[in-house]
């Protein structure tokens, strides 16, 4: 038995809106799809103690993250009647206002696509070993923590 190699989800730098548009376009040939659900994570310019976040530098334990993402993907496919799922997460420096996460689920009907998208986002935030260093405008930093 051959084990399928987990799909890569990481992209160096921000996720371009053109990449997202192309990804949507590629589904036009899959005419059994009736609904897509998309979640986009954007870097927020939080103000913490009077200092503004200018960018987040993301790092990951990539091998572990890809294995965990593979499990999430299999669980979500087992639970919902999905046609497909695509997940991309940025690594490196992502400026405030740029996109760092792109989750895209498709199904015959909206409910499965919407629920699967939400569950995937919640699980990946809780289960993937990814870290974000929030860099302030004055070059100091703090480490982001998911709530």
């Amino acid at each position: 038995m051959t084990e399928k190699k987990p799909k890569n989800i990481f992209i160096q730098g921000p996720i371009a809106s053109s990449f997202i548009a192309d990804s949507i376009q590629k589904h036009s040939s899959k005419t059994d799809i009736g609904g897509h659900s998309i979640f986009l994570g954007q870097v927020r310019a939080d103000i913490i103690d009077g200092k503004k976040v200018s960018f987040i530098e993301y790092t990951s334990y990539e091998e572990m993250a890809l294995e965990k993402m593979h499990i999430i993907r299999e669980d979500v496919f087992a639970k919902y009647p999905l046609t497909c799922m695509h997940v991309y997460h940025s690594l490196g420096k992502i400026a405030a206002g740029e996109i760092c996460l792109f989750v895209f689920t498709s199904s015959a009907h909206r409910k499965a696509a919407i629920d699967a998208c939400e569950e995937t986002v919640e699980r990946l935030k809780a289960e993937l070993p990814i870290w974000g260093k929030e860099m302030f405008e004055d070059d100091t930093h703090q480490w982001k923590e998911n709530k």
Binding site: Y61, E67, C100, K125, E127, I130, K133, W143
Partner: protein, 77 residues
């Protein structure tokens, strides 16, 4: 026996390295004690230990092929 430990996020600011090597560590409890001794500041930060990409909470026996990692709280998305 030599164990390589991968260090991530803010923990690497304390160890000043993304990888440290320890000798004669047979299990994760011993590892915690050695880390504590060498890097006292680590005790002030929350982190989990992964062995072969699985988080372990109970004491876990290590061998020379174990891949050990120290994981601070996740912040993906």
């Amino acid at each position: 026996m030599q164990i390589n430990i991968l260090i991530f996020g803010q923990l690497a600011e304390i160890t000043r390295s993304r990888e440290v090597i320890f000798n004669d560590i047979n299990d994760t409890e011993t590892l915690k004690n050695v880390l504590q001794e060498k890097y006292p500041a680590l005790s002030e930060l929350p982190y989990l230990i992964a062995v072969d990409k699985e988080i372990v909470s109970a004491n876990t026996i290590l061998n020379d092929k174990s891949i050990v990692a120290l994981l601070p709280p996740y912040a993906g998305g």
